[in-house]
Subunit: 215 residues, 2 copies
């Protein structure tokens, strides 16, 4: 596998390849051409070949790709070839949704504990995961080899918690609060800013209406 | 305002500008230079000027930008200058989180009803929003001038619901199911694929570890 820096655009397309290839594999399909993958995914075959070339190409095009191998290799690139230990901060509806609704365990994501400022939730369980007080967060992370902290809390609380966990050995924060967090470079941050997503949607609506008005 | 096609990259940055400018406005700051905005947002001042030039520049750089005007103009571009009527499909944890946890009403997003296949939920309310049976979805959309359908349901259900609502007059689907929906071009789709986001995070972790191992 290549170690050169890969552009953000290519990286952002990898999870979608992984998702489609998982579906194709589940259908029992063993080999697929870039043309066929292109048709299913609605991207050009040349885009697919270019993207895959960043990682050495994943096998000969003339014979198509081996689906299982390709799925597994992209999984490795995405860091899915090993387990990840998470804690959830914020045991409200969103946190519950993340634990219950998403099927993380299939991909090696294991929540070890949840934390919440609300005393009424302490000692309860969310989808089998126990809820602890906030002041136990840092020691829990340190004693349980936690890699990823999931923040499903409002923005002011998120800033404080990000500060609290910045001194621990975590590798990453998955942040649902509507604020960009300041953490040391060794901690990776992936934001899910739902309101930003909703604004991109209303932008698309407005653009479509404008285009139609011009016709 | 310009009507030329704006690149996806510029568009994807607009909600973040809108979010920061809202905060700056709330702090009572009336004017801001691109240098100051650059410092706060951690992007280059030339990036900011380039982005804003797509929309006519928003005023003279020498005197800085008028914060309230800039915030309002970007809001208009994002389609936030009018109200949006939504329905939620899927009254589980994620749907509840979207209604309760997010502060949509501040930006003109109004949920009119929720729909769920689970009979036990029918007639209940989620954050003041009533839950109806799925077979009332299409007529509700048609009788209540619904613009956006929010899908907080699993992927197989999402495909069916997308088909059901494709014949109505909706403008957009905000899709949380882990599947890319096929709908007519007049319906805009914005996906929030949480597992894709989590995979980008594990990719970043793996990349960081690899880089450090090479040192």
């Amino acid at each position: 596998m290549e170690n050169r820096e890969i552009s953000q655009a290519v990286v952002s397309r990898l999870p979608r390849y992984y998702r489609y290839l998982g579906d194709i594999k589940d259908q029992g399909i063993e080999r697929i051409s870039s043309a066929e993958l292109s048709r299913i995914m609605r991207v050009t075959a040349s885009q697919i070949r270019q993207d895959f070339n960043h990682f050495g190409g994943f096998g000969q095009q003339g014979y198509g790709y081996n689906v299982e191998y390709l799925h597994e290799e992209i999984g490795k690139i995405l860091g899915l070839d090993r387990d990840h230990r998470l804690v959830l901060v914020g045991a409200g509806n969103l946190g519950s949704a993340l634990i219950n609704y998403m099927n993380f365990k299939n991909r090696g994501f294991f929540f070890q504990a949840a934390f919440d400022a609300n005393e009424e939730l302490h000692g309860r369980t969310l989808g089998g995961i126990k809820v602890y007080p906030m002041d136990e967060l840092v020691s829990f992370i340190e004693n349980n080899d936690i890699e990823i902290v999931v923040l499903a809390i409002p923005r002011t609380a998120a800033v404080k918690v990000a500060e609290m966990v910045s001194g621990t050995g975590i590798s990453a924060i998955w942040n649902f609060a509507h604020i960009d967090l300041q953490v040391p470079d060794r901690i990776q941050v992936e934001n899910v800013h739902l309101s930003d997503s909703l604004m991109r949607l209303t932008y698309s609506i407005r653009r479509y209406e404008e285009k139609n008005a011009q016709k």
